[in-house]
């Protein structure tokens, strides 16, 4: 693979800017049936919790304009099962291993990071999920409050030398405030953005389509929101940004990088086209060859009006 796609997210070197977004690739195993995961910059695991979680009951997905709502609710096998059964698979894939850490309380996050720190030889970064909208406690509740973000980030910072990427929610008034709070707490990067909270209603029954009532909106529709947030945060942050939201082709990756992202996550579009990262990677290589540049030189090159 061409070195023109190499990027760095702080100390983490990725052979491509493309990372599979948490919650849209499980732990990579199912997608390995479609393509060689070694082409990827990284894989961000399904959001993990200290104990296994069954997730939300009932209907968990609803089609929306250019995207979808989900209310999976962090169904996952728990961190111990992951370490035992999935971590080595991710490591052996050749992609950098990003472990997504979710919790219901500060104590959960602390216990998770303490545990995962013992496997730092197999993990390239921890993505701290302060942004899942589909659980009642933790995640977005913490991630909406700059003071709480700074507190939890600084607490986790004491526990590990692994890079800490804080995944933030767009469901806030000022993304700059929450991104700065993560930086001040000692984050190595911020991931912008998780899903936008939304609702769809069945007009016949007058009930929400999702049994959880609300869900997280993702897909191409949310890309402009994500791009705006990356572009807003890029000038004020000293730490790198990982862009995430609505990526569906190579131009979207480039757009995120121009806005200020050092790497880019792709997620919902892979639910429709599992092997999409192969096409995006080929197109990015061609783009770099055509205009003779290294992709990382694009980061933050936005020319504002």
């Amino acid at each position: 693979m061409s070195t023109s796609l190499n990027v760095n997210v702080g100390s983490v070197n990725l052979k491509s800017p493309l990372i599979l977004a948490s919650g849209t690739c499980n732990f990579g195993r199912e997608l390995a049936e479609y393509y060689d995961l070694n082409i990827l910059g990284g894989i961000s695991s399904k959001g993990l919790t200290i104990k296994p979680r069954a997730g939300n009951p009932g209907v968990r997905v609803a089609e929306c304009a250019s995207g979808m709502l989900n209310s999976v609710g962090l169904q996952n096998p728990g961190v111990d099962y992951f370490i035992e059964n999935d971590l080595d698979f991710m490591k052996d894939s050749g992609a950098s291993v990003i472990v997504n850490v979710a919790g219901h309380s500060y104590e959960d996050y602390i216990a998770m990071v303490n545990k995962l720190d013992q496997y730092s030889d197999k993990i390239d970064a921890l993505e701290i999920n302060l942004s899942c909208p589909n659980v009642k406690e933790g995640c977005m509740t913490i991630g909406s409050d700059p003071v709480a973000i700074m507190f939890i980030t600084s607490e986790l910072r004491k526990l590990t030398k692994l890079p800490l990427w804080i995944k933030l929610t767009p469901n806030v008034t000022d993304i700059k405030a929450t991104a700065l709070a993560a930086q001040e707490g000692g984050a190595d990067a911020v991931v912008l953005i998780n899903t936008l909270m939304g609702m769809r209603i069945d007009i016949r029954t007058r009930r929400p389509v999702l049994t959880n009532n609300t869900g997280g909106y993702s897909g191409p529709a949310v890309k402009p929101v994500a791009i705006r947030m990356v572009a807003e945060c890029s000038p004020i942050l000293d730490i790198p940004i990982v862009g995430c939201g609505g990526v569906a082709d190579y131009k979207d990756v480039i757009e995120f990088m121009i806005a200020g992202a050092s790497a880019v996550e792709v997620g919902t579009a892979c639910l429709v086209h599992p092997a999409l990262p192969v096409k995006i990677t080929e197109d990015l290589e061609k783009y770099c060859a055509d205009i003779k540049l290294n992709l990382k030189d694009l980061t933050g090159t936005l020319q504002r009006w």
Binding site: K46, R60, E63, V72, C270, P274
Partner: protein, 256 residues
């Protein structure tokens, strides 16, 4: 293991069976060759975002064509039903586990609604293999009856065709001589599958059901289409993926 892929395939036949339900044939030799009854395909649907899952209704291996049935229930299925011959669609498949008939000589296939499509594929496969197959299908009324073949037991809620009542009334008419060698497979609405499941339990028959749930990806990565199955853990159940661990489950495993 062969690398799986997404196919771009052509619509080569289309027939409306009743006003809201059509039968579509797509050219894809790879899918036609390897599909098993109970498996499904995920098909891109015009302007909607997510693909839509459809149980495979038949395969023509010689001509490399597989068939699905589409009942119009929303925007995605509406757009698929309006595809013209020659249209190209993106398709993933075959997906899911399919029915395992191994070890059974007598197989009862039962269902209703769009469940009659996968039942059709199972019927064709089993009769070609020389198995003893009985089919019992239920519909609301005579106007809804589709894919009915000679020898099928037919029930309608209205009673204007076949036996009046649900498929249970039809199943009661079947004489089961060897319960241990008889398997019943059901594809239909959840209340029907639940009723068939308890009917089968009463008769001491193993029962397989093909579950349906709103799907995101169809390949096991989004965890949207979960089905509750029994588990020995503290919750007494666990959520498994309809698209990956299913869609076919032993009815005794399902938390109804």
């Amino acid at each position: 293991m062969d690398q799986k892929k997404e196919y771009r395939i052509k619509l080569v036949s289309k027939e409306f069976l009743i006003n809201d339900t059509c039968y579509l044939g797509f050219e894809c030799p790879e899918i036609a060759r390897v599909s098993r009854p109970g498996q499904f395909v995920n098909i891109s649907a015009g302007t909607v975002f997510l693909k839509r899952p459809f149980g495979i209704a038949s395969v023509d291996k010689d001509n490399g064509i597989f068939y699905i049935g589409v009942k119009v229930v929303g925007k995605g299925t509406s757009e698929i039903s309006e595809f013209e011959l020659g249209s190209m669609v993106d398709c993933l498949g075959p997906l899911g586990n399919g029915f395992d008939f191994e070890g059974y000589e007598n197989i009862i296939l039962t269902g209703g609604g769009t469940g009659v499509f996968p039942i059709n594929f199972a019927y064709e496969t089993l009769t070609a293999a020389g198995k003893n197959v009985t089919v019992c299908e239920g519909f609301r009324n005579a106007e809804q009856v589709i894919l009915n073949k000679e020898g099928y037991i037919l029930t309608t809620d209205s009673g204007d065709m076949g036996i009046k009542g649900t498929v249970i009334a039809g199943l009661d008419a079947i004489y089961i001589s060897e319960p241990s060698k008889t398997l019943i497979c059901c594809v239909g609405p959840i209340p029907m599958m639940k009723a068939v499941s308890s009917w089968a339990a009463d008769k001491g028959l193993k029962c397989l059901v093909s579950m349906e749930q709103r799907m995101g990806c169809g390949v096991g990565i989004c965890l949207c289409c979960t089905v509750k199955v029994k588990d020995e853990g503290p919750d007494g159940f666990k959520n498994v993926r309809c698209c990956k661990e299913g869609p076919v489950f032993d009815s005794k495993e399902v938390v109804w």
